[in-house]
Amino acid sequence: MKIVMNTLERIQGVEIYPIISLLIFFSFFIVMAYFVFNLDKGYIKEMKNMPLEDDENDSSNINSDNNL
């Protein structure tokens, strides 16, 4: 650990870190948005309905056997 520390202690201009991080995120976001908007419609539909597929129960949550 000490070797790593001694090496990195000499880092100059640590202020650049936030700018780099912003750039990383921004490019990541653009690439992701591009791919998401080009996704196949059938796939989206299939994914969306995934939680509902096994639903043979009646969908009402508010039936109670008594009137409490």
């Binding site: 880092i11 640590v14 995120f25 998401v36 939680p51 639903d55 508010i62 039936n63 109670s64």
Partner: protein, 717 residues
């Protein structure tokens, strides 16, 4: 295509559901007790383990890890097999996970009130329990990823991505923040010190909110809102974008907890920028949740489950709007250290986590017991009690926060502090504390109805252990045309996990590594020396009692704070503080310069002695609880040598061989001096008592840079 038959085992869902209900009732009762102790400080009756500062960590840990934690596991164990068309990977691992987690909770419930704590918020558990947490978390991870590997569905639904991100990130955060060197079986020192320790802690603290209270609940939302409303999620594209943006951004925002502290400016700025950006993906999630109910609002009028989901998701939207606002430096200057933060986090936990958990359990319980909910009316009453309780809890605390902060900052025309006595600002907000306790009581009444309703539902139904289902094997699943990168990634759960890990590590590394490794970030101050052995022992009492929960040790560079508490805190002053004690809340005054004799608030040894024994005898309106056991108990010095040598290992420059005998001699010498001083003030007390060590520590606080009478010469730059 041949269909394969398989069964879902509801046993663990049932167990996690019971655990959620039980620990919810316990954890919130502890919170309610703490709320009442703030109005009636002597409620602890002189009993250590009932004292506010000991049970406050119990409340936060129980609410987060016991109540919300079990709710997360319930959601995961119920929804994952159904989304992946396969039973969970291993029943044995599932059982180890369940019972291991409950054992950890019990261990926490015993050790925290007894004062075994690392004093890092939401990471208080001592090292042996931390190790158990890591083991159980790994077991959970194997079970989750194993289930993904043997699934029958090619693509993984968004809820499960959130579960994966939760698992991988909590693993990284928890291990990084809890790095500590053991001193004894139940005592350790953080390997980080001062400002570095604070940075790691709030990187963890912030992301515990993100990846324990938020991401798994977004997963839960993406499964149970469509289920309960019987309609698909509003926008699946939005869910992909907001997933990646959220996990990418959240991890950077930790330093917003340390604005105006001695943390370097660049790290503070980074925290603020990312906190503001975080608003977009957070609201992406809220909008997606609420719009899923489009066309179903008529159902929302009648269905308490949907009502709870709507209020829960709205509370999430409010809290995630407020969070970025609180990270703005101007707002933070006002809100930090006040009850504003407490109000903010309770909108999140009572609203978002609480409501979603209640809604989920009201939905699951009738299904796994093959019956109807015992009482819909009771669930409706619970909804209203929870909603009004949350508002009665939070709104008075917002007012308490503004009021107290403005009072702290108010100056008279002559340029003096308008309220130099901190206590004046406390008595002003006591009515708001009473209102908060009332709001908490309302919320808790709802919890009681919740317990009854779940219990009665379980009692009248018959538990369905196994549910049958069928699906084609994975190889035979149909595919849709060409495969995009994200679809391929989803098809590979292990790689997906690694991708999520990389995304969260980028933020973590950019933020933490330079801070940890660049020495120039913490300017050293030659006047700052390690604690004496007695002060170190006193500091450990301060940690044990949880003093940091009500008293900060961080004077911000504002005129109002420098005027009240003395020269603002420098990063170089806490380089020997393993762990740091900055605190995050000022229920009482800041103590960073408690020992500086030339400051107006200086208190002699005898004052501290009497104050610990009976705070109200000195300040009738004080809300500090009494700590008589510190007066009565002998100081345990059996681990002194181990403490000194552990500190030496961590880089604290005690002389070589100091632990072997000299340390004890120095301790006794300093203790006798303090006992003699107390005797001169008319207090006859043995030098062996804990109070002597605590006084030694308090009188040392903040004095180093005042030694030559010129504290302004030191800077943070």
């Amino acid at each position: 295509m041949e269909l394969q038959k398989f069964t879902y085992d509801n046993k663990l869902s049932k167990l996690f559901m019971y655990a959620t209900v039980l620990w919810g009732a316990v954890g919130l009762l502890v919170g309610l007790t703490a709320a009442f102790e703030l109005i009636f400080p002597s409620w602890n009756g002189g009993i250590p383990w009932l004292t506010f500062s000991r049970i406050r960590p119990l409340h936060t840990n129980a609410a987060i890890f016991a109540f919300v934690g079990n709710a997360i596991f319930l959601a995961v164990y119920y929804s994952t097999p159904r989304l992946l068309k396969t039973p969970m990977f291993s029943k044995t691992l599932g059982n180890i996970h369940f019972w291991g987690w409950q054992a950890i909770i019990v261990a926490a419930a015993i050790t925290l009130p007894l004062g075994f704590t690392q004093s890092k918020e939401y990471a208080e558990l001592e090292w042996p329990i931390d190790l158990a947490v890591v083991v159980v978390w790994v077991v959970f991870g194997i079970n989750l990823i194993g289930t993904l590997v043997k699934r029958r569905i090619k693509h993984i639904y968004v809820a499960i991505w959130f579960y994966i991100a939760t698992w991988v990130t909590i693993a990284v955060l928890y291990i990084t923040n809890n790095m500590a060197l053991p001193v004894s079986m139940m005592k350790s020192y953080s390997v980080y010190a001062g400002i570095q320790d604070a940075l790691v802690q709030w990187w963890y603290g912030h992301n515990a909110v993100a990846f324990f209270l938020t991401t798994p609940f977004l997963g839960l939302m993406y499964y149970f809102i469509p289920k309960a409303s019987n309609r698909p999620v509003y926008s699946y594209k939005l869910s992909i974008i907001h997933f990646w943006a959220l996990i990418f951004l959240y991890i950077w925002a930790g330093p917003h907890h340390l604005l105006y502290s001695s943390l370097p400016d660049w790290a503070q700025a980074l925290g603020v920028v990312f906190s503001i950006m975080l608003l977009a993906p957070s609201w992406g999630g809220m909008i997606n949740g609420l719009l899923t109910l489009r066309g179903a609002w008529d159902k929302v009028r009648e269905d308490p489950i949907l009502k709870m989901f709507v209020v829960g998701v709205t509370a999430y939207g409010m809290a995630t709007f407020e969070g970025p606002m609180l990270s703005l430096k101007t707002v933070n200057a006002l809100s930090h250290f006040t009850d504003w933060t407490i109000a903010h986090v309770h909108i999140g936990t009572l609203g978002w986590n609480g409501m979603l958990t209640f809604g989920m359990i009201y939905w699951i319980a009738p299904r796994i017991f093959n019956t109807k909910l015992y009482s819909v009316k009771m669930a409706n009453i619970h909804f209203w009690l929870a909603t009004t309780g949350m508002l009665f809890f939070s709104i008075p605390l917002y007012f308490a926060g503004f009021t107290q902060s403005l009072m702290w900052k108010e100056f008279t025309d002559a340029g003096a502090l308008a309220y130099p006595n901190f206590l004046d600002t406390v008595t002003q907000i006591l009515p708001m504390y009473a209102m908060r306790a009332f709001g908490g009581s309302l919320y808790y009444t709802g919890i009681i109805l919740f317990v009854i309703n779940v219990w009665k539902t379980a009692a009248k139904g018959k538990f369905v252990r196994y549910e049958e289902d069928s699906a084609p094997a994975l190889e035979a699943a149909p595919s849709h045309g060409h495969e995009g990168w994200h679809r391929r990634l989803e098809g590979m759960p292990v790689k997906f996990t690694v991708a999520a890990l990389i995304v969260i590590l980028i933020g973590g590394i950019v933020e933490i590594v330079p801070m940890m490794l660049v020495k120039s970030n913490v300017p050293t101050i030659s006047a700052v020396k390690p604690y004496t052995p007695l002060e170190l022992e006193g500091r450990d009492i301060y940690v044990r009692e949880g003093c940091y929960l009500c008293h900060s040790q961080m004077i911000r560079p504002f005129r109002s704070e420098v005027e009240r508490y003395g020269e603002y805190s420098k990063a170089g002053e806490s380089v020997y503080d393993h762990p740091f004690q900055f605190g995050s809340k000022r229920t009482g005054p800041d103590l960073a310069r408690e020992g500086v004799k030339t400051l107006p608030n200086y208190k002699p040894n005898s004052w501290h002695y009497n104050h610990m024994l009976d705070p109200q005898s000195l300040n009738p309106e004080s809300i500090m609880p009494p700590y008589p056991w510190i007066i009565n108990d002998d100081l345990d010095v059996s681990t002194l040598a181990s403490k000194i040598s552990t500190m030496q290992t961590l880089g604290v420059p005690y002389p070589e061989g100091y632990a072997d005998g000299q340390a004890m001699k120095d301790l006794e010498k300093q203790a006798n001096e303090i006992a003699q001083n107390l005797k001169e003030a008319g207090i006859d007390v043995s030098a062996k008592k804990e109070i002597i060590a605590l006084i030694a520590y308090l009188q040392r606080l903040g004095t180093d840079i005042y030694k030559d009478g010129n504290p302004e010469q030191y800077s943070n730059k």
